[in-house]
Each structure stands twice: as structure tokens, then as C-alpha cells.
Symmetry: C2
Subunit: 248 residues, 2 copies
């Protein structure tokens, strides 16, 4: 298994699959690859996608969403027709459509619902996926064997694979993940901008701390996620604001 | 110490102070008093405020906000001038002003920032206040000895007492507690009303679960809290909505 991007999710997957007996090839920047080798999260370090694919049956795209789209096109050019490709991105419609345009019948969109506010290989751990949902979004044209293989990877990482249509996934995560992320930022920023509450942030109880935990999530990554799911996020945000008016 | 109301906060305080060697007199409905006696959270059960005050040096009002205001007036009529009175309510201006009108120089407003979404004596535990802030809002006319006594109670319960003006407290908790409560309800309700996300609530990750934990908080109690702090909550809600527009 080649994993491109060894951040929180890719690094955790590398650890989990190596622990489960897979031979994992990592692709990332040199310092990250060194860390991953030292942690025995990967067996081999690759410095190009071409090199990583030479020995792989599966490619997992685990970089930020835009980089995943770039690598998908590159993999389509490079790879043998037998290579199964999946990704772990938070929005599924754009990459599923890109795979369809590239006629990649062995691409299976995926999304483990297992993030935290932390990021980078240093935050990764083999148990990140334990008991979590791992959504798979095969298209009607996707080869069933490819979907089965990716479902097995997810299960071997400790997660529970669930099939969903890409559009349905993107609608659901707008409510369950993307709007909560925006709200967490806004709660923290409003409390920090008010002079009185800014001076008293330290006295906040566990409720506030839980609700602003996500505010520490990496902004750049999230900007890409929210941009990719803009329509569903706008819709869910309106629904949230209506619900808030009913409560207040 | 008489504690009127043995719910999550009052019950936890009874447990913590009994463990610290105080003689605690509980006032609540008979079934709750029986539970509290069995748990050794209280030494004696009282069935009226008059009976509870006969043997007490301190009265802690730990019922919902409106009931606390009623008991404050009753205690002012009944009590000896030596009785120290405090409360644990989430909004401080109304009860501090009521105490001033009643000329209670030994009343000290208090608020431990230690709630959870659970409620009732069954959810109480002696460690609820460990390391938490416990705001005290003495007025300029409050007897310093009364403030010192209540600060000692807070410390003996494991908390860190901090003095704040009532208005400053109410402003800060609007941002740190009351708006987060409204937002938690709205996030959960929006996700539940959308047909697609409602079917997929079970796949939500830890972020959504943390952010909607407070949605299980008792509504009746919260309606009273929000009504008592309406002005500050409206202001903080507007600030939150502005911050949300900047992020989205």
C-alpha cells in the first residue's frame, strides 16, 4: 500500500496498516519520511509518486484535497490498470467526478470520520480509526473488487466501512463536520474579541473547551475542504442559523 | 452548611463538603433527600427552609434561578443576622440586586463553572469542582467576612475562587457558556431536521459529539438562565453571528 501524505490521517493509516501486517510505502517530504521510518509506520520511503507506484497494489491519497486531485491525475497517467486508488478527503463529489472523467474504474472515494484538531505525522496514532465510520463512495462504474479491497483496508485499520453516495456524504458532513468547524471558530473568536470575556477565557468550563477544541484545526486545510463543499456548507449553515433563531 | 437543592451542583457540593468534614443539611424533595442520605452526601435532611436554617451558619441556594430568588426572600425573613447566604446560579446580576434590595450584607453571589450536560443528584460527584473556577461576586456593601467564608467553602470543595463584578461575570458567561449552549442545541437540531444528515448521525466523529454534548442539558433550567441574562446573551449572540459570517 502506498500512502501519499503522512499527516494525521495518512500517518495514522500507515501505522495501523503496518501493525496489521501490510507493507506500507510512504510518500511525503524527506523529514516526515524519516520520522515515519523511525516510528516503523512505513517500510519504505518514496520520493516520487512514480517510485511509490512501482511496488504498490493500492494508492491512498492522504494529502490536502487539492493536492489529492493533482496526484489523482498523475496516478492515472502513471499507473497500471490494476492499481486500486482511494483517498481519505473530507469532500467526495469533486474527486469522484475527477476519477470518472479520468475513467478510473478502480478508484473508490473514501473518508474516515476520525479527525481531531491536531495535524501532522507527530499527531498520528495507530488507533485513530478504532470503531469509527469510514465512508466509501463507489460510483456505479466502480469495479466491485476495488471497493471490496478498500473496505478491507478500512476494516484492517480498525474502522467500520459504510457505503454512501458521494452527494449524500457531502450533505451529511456539511451538518456533522463542516458547519461544526465554522461554529467552533466563530465561538472562539467572538469570546476572544469581547474585552470582558477575553480576559476570562481561563475560567471557562468544560463545555466551552469542548466546543472550541476544533478551533485549533489547521486553517489552510479547512479552507480547501469548505471551498470544495461550498454549496452543502451554505445550505447547512442556513439551517443552523434558522435553528439558532428558534432557540434564542 | 445548609444546601437548598441537591441536583448536579448542589448534590456535588454536598458530597464534596461532607467529605471535607462539614456537617451538611440538605433541603430538597423527600426521595432526593433519601438518596443523599444513603450516599452520605448530607448528615441531616430538612423539609423546610426554616428547619434547615435553625442549625446552619451558611445557606447555599442551589435550586434553579427562579426558585433561588424565592428562597432568598424567605431566608431574609427567617434568618438570624449572622447567616451567610450564597448561591451557585449561572447569572449573578438579578440575585445580587435582589440581595441588595433585601439589605442582605452577608449574601455573596457565587457561580462554580463546573456544570455538565447531566442533571439531578444521580449525576453528582464529589470531584465536580476540582480545579474549576468558582466566581464570587460580592457587592461593595458585602461583609468581607462573608466573602471569606464562601471563598473557603469553594476552596474546600476543590475549586479556585475568583472575585468578579456581577455584570462582568454575566457578560463573560454569555460568551463562555450561554451562547455555546444555544449553539449546541442549534447544531444538533439542524443535523436532526435534515433528512440526509439525520439518517447519518451515527457516523459523526468526535468533533460533532463534543459540540452537541450540551444539547442534552435540561431545557427548563436553561430557559430560566437565558431569560435572566437576556441582554448579555443577545449581545454575545450577535457577536457570534458576526464572527460566523467572517469565517464562512
Amino acid at each position: 500500500v502506498a500512502i501519499a501524505g503522512l499527516g494525521l490521517v495518512g500517518g495514522s493509516l500507515a501505522r495501523a496498516l503496518s501493525a496489521a501486517g501490510y507493507r506500507v510505502i510512504g510518500l511525503d517530504q524527506a523529514p516526515v519520511l524519516r520520522q515515519a521510518r523511525r516510528a516503523r509506520a512505513i517500510a519504505t520511503a518514496a520520493t516520487s509518486l512514480a517510485a511509490a507506484l512501482r511496488e504498490s497494489d493500492v494508492l491512498v491519497l492522504a494529502a490536502p484535497p487539492r493536492a489529492n486531485l493533482v496526484m489523482l491525475r498523475e496516478a492515472a497517467r502513471l499507473s497500471s490498470p490494476r492499481l486500486v486508488i482511494t483517498d481519505v478527503g473530507s469532500v467526495k463529489t469533486p474527486i469522484v467526478q475527477a476519477a470518472a472523467r479520468l475513467r478510473l474504474r478502480r478508484f473508490v472515494g473514501g473518508h474516515p470520520l476520525a479527525g481531531t484538531e491536531r495535524s501532522g505525522f507527530a499527531a498520528s496514532r495507530a488507533t485513530l480509526f478504532a470503531g469509527r465510520s469510514w465512508v466509501l463512495t463507489p460510483a456505479p462504474s466502480t469495479a466491485p473488487a476495488a471497493t471490496r479491497l478498500v473496505a478491507r483496508l478500512a476494516r484492517d485499520a480498525g474502522a467500520r466501512p459504510r457505503r454512501l453516495r458521494a452527494a449524500e456524504h457531502d450533505r451529511a458532513v456539511a451538518f456533522l463536520s463542516h458547519v461544526p468547524q465554522l461554529v467552533s471558530w466563530a465561538l472562539f473568536e467572538a469570546a476572544r474579541r469581547d474585552r470582558t470575556s477575553a480576559r476570562r477565557l481561563g475560567m471557562a468550563g468544560p463545555g466551552f473547551r469542548d466546543m472550541t477544541r476544533l478551533a485549533r484545526s489547521p486553517r489552510g486545510l479547512w479552507r480547501q475542504i469548505l471551498a470544495q463543499n461550498r454549496r452543502e456548507v451554505s445550505r447547512a449553515l442556513l439551517a443552523f442559523q434558522r435553528a439558532l433563531r428558534r432557540k434564542a
